[in-house]
Symmetry: C2
Amino acid sequence: MLIHDVLGIEAPIIQAPMAGIQGSAMAIAVSNAGGLGSLPCAMLSPDELRSELSAIKSGTHKPVNLNFFAHTPPTPNPQREQAWQQSLAPYYREFDIDPASIATGAGRTPFNAETAALVEEFRPAVVSFHFGLPEAPLLNRVKATGAKVLSTATTLEEALWLQQHGADGVIAQGLEAGGHRGHFLSTDLSKQMGTFALVPQMVKALYIPVIAAGGIADARGVMAALDLGAAGVQIGTAFMLCPEANTRPVHRDALKVGAAHTVITNLFSGGAARGIMNRIIRELGPMSASAPEFPLASSALAPLRAAAEAKGLGDFSPLWSGQNASGCQEIEAATLLKSLYK
Amino acid sequence: MLIHDVLGIEAPIIQAPMAGIQGSAMAIAVSNAGGLGSLPCAMLSPDELRSELSAIKSGTHKPVNLNFFAHTPPTPNPQREQAWQQSLAPYYREFDIDPASIATGAGRTPFNAETAALVEEFRPAVVSFHFGLPEAPLLNRVKATGAKVLSTATTLEEALWLQQHGADGVIAQGLEAGGHRGHFLSTDLSKQMGTFALVPQMVKALYIPVIAAGGIADARGVMAALDLGAAGVQIGTAFMLCPEANTRPVHRDALKVGAAHTVITNLFSGGAARGIMNRIIRELGPMSASAPEFPLASSALAPLRAAAEAKGLGDFSPLWSGQNASGCQEIEAATLLKSLYK
């Protein structure tokens, strides 16, 4: 059974929620075109989220996916955050930034009672989580609305855990995928695998649907993922040049280069995420032991990113991308979606 | 155009050459069953090679692939090899091994004039290389026999290089693949990608056929790879439990566990290769800066491997495996081959 049959939509394609890259405009365009549009909610304040939800309400009557983070918030560690800032001191000097002006703290709130209430009010067709699932009482509130619940697994072990804890489907996130890795049982990246190995093994082991993510960029890729036994696909990178995306100019330029070198890095948030190689990754190395735990590393690079972007440089920006950006096109999201599935 | 049409065989499937794991028996079985059987030649002496070739000659009239290494032999570095042996001293003591008895040196000869003469004599349908291509004079001798020449690429850059230097087809080795990575332009593993991302990008960029390798374990995987635009597939791991394979007992046991944790390690040869996690990898870490350059690290672990295997332990063995061993079956290679393509 493919996911579009379950959801009553035209294509078995979820537009990947991309926090910081897209909002309601993308979700509306994709859902109206027959895919499942997604709203990334994790970086929105409750007011922003409410406003995005009402935009969606008036923009489409089709099924939509709301995506939340389900990470365990780390214990704040001001000393470590301070040390992280200090290791960036040469860059602050280069861009004339006063380190005292830099905010600390997390900035990404996991799914909570307040957001659960918004889900109850908005009643989306699908709610997807990254970094595991919320605690049972919160999850049960979501499930009671009738929403299908999805979450990301990077290993077979995580997929089985999600199935056992109430997920209606699992997003198999291959190592090719752009943005944050969704692991939640182990931080050992060597346990994670490519889409081609991950999807069939999950399909064999699970009784719930498996949605393939990572490396899928065009209609051939969609067909290949379904051949591997996936019930659908989740595609992110290919949508990043669409006019409905808020992808910054430096990020758009980096995606247009073609076959860029991507790496998994923790510099931008403290969590492992795949993005295009740039100056800060080259100079500090992609994985820094000094970076505070996710998402505590986020604020330290923010002013550098802003200062560099103002000069047209992506040297300090998280240039999220999967390993296959060959599907990126500067066309409307609806046109792109329709090219992915016939 | 799929590779089996080019070669006049039944299935677009190359049995991956697996040095140390299989010889002529496997190649004959696969070729007779309609695939392209491969003989790994890199670890055979000229006499052994000649004997294997005559076994193939009397075993099959179908096309066969001979596989050679094309690495640049490293400058011997006895001091570094000595230091590598010394770092293993506690293990030698544990197994009562006299370090003075351990051979040094390479043990894997790249393709040369002598092996070229054997190719001219044997006239295989296909000659494949790992680690690049031999120098033009040697390569031209191979091509003059009418053999189709294949080689492995782990990046788009390597694929374009191979196309430009005379390869008739490229094996796109995704990160999922077991055994040695075939890179030859850069040792930066972060430049390498999963099969799902690698194959379509090579297909778009090359005019020669692309053969997908890595993570392909069953008929669905073969179909998916062809959907991505591959002209054929190369499958290794799935054949390792067949009776025609010489896979050691400890290795067979490790493959039967199912969804084992594999890592890319340089401990066994100095070159990066994917195998199942075991004691030596856990204790030294998968990538050691002390391991001499490929293939100079090979001899130091050999006596430990032998001693441990004699006790039924795979603690020091290279347990090569791709990330998807779910296709391994204890059935004849011909039966397995036929299950992969209908």
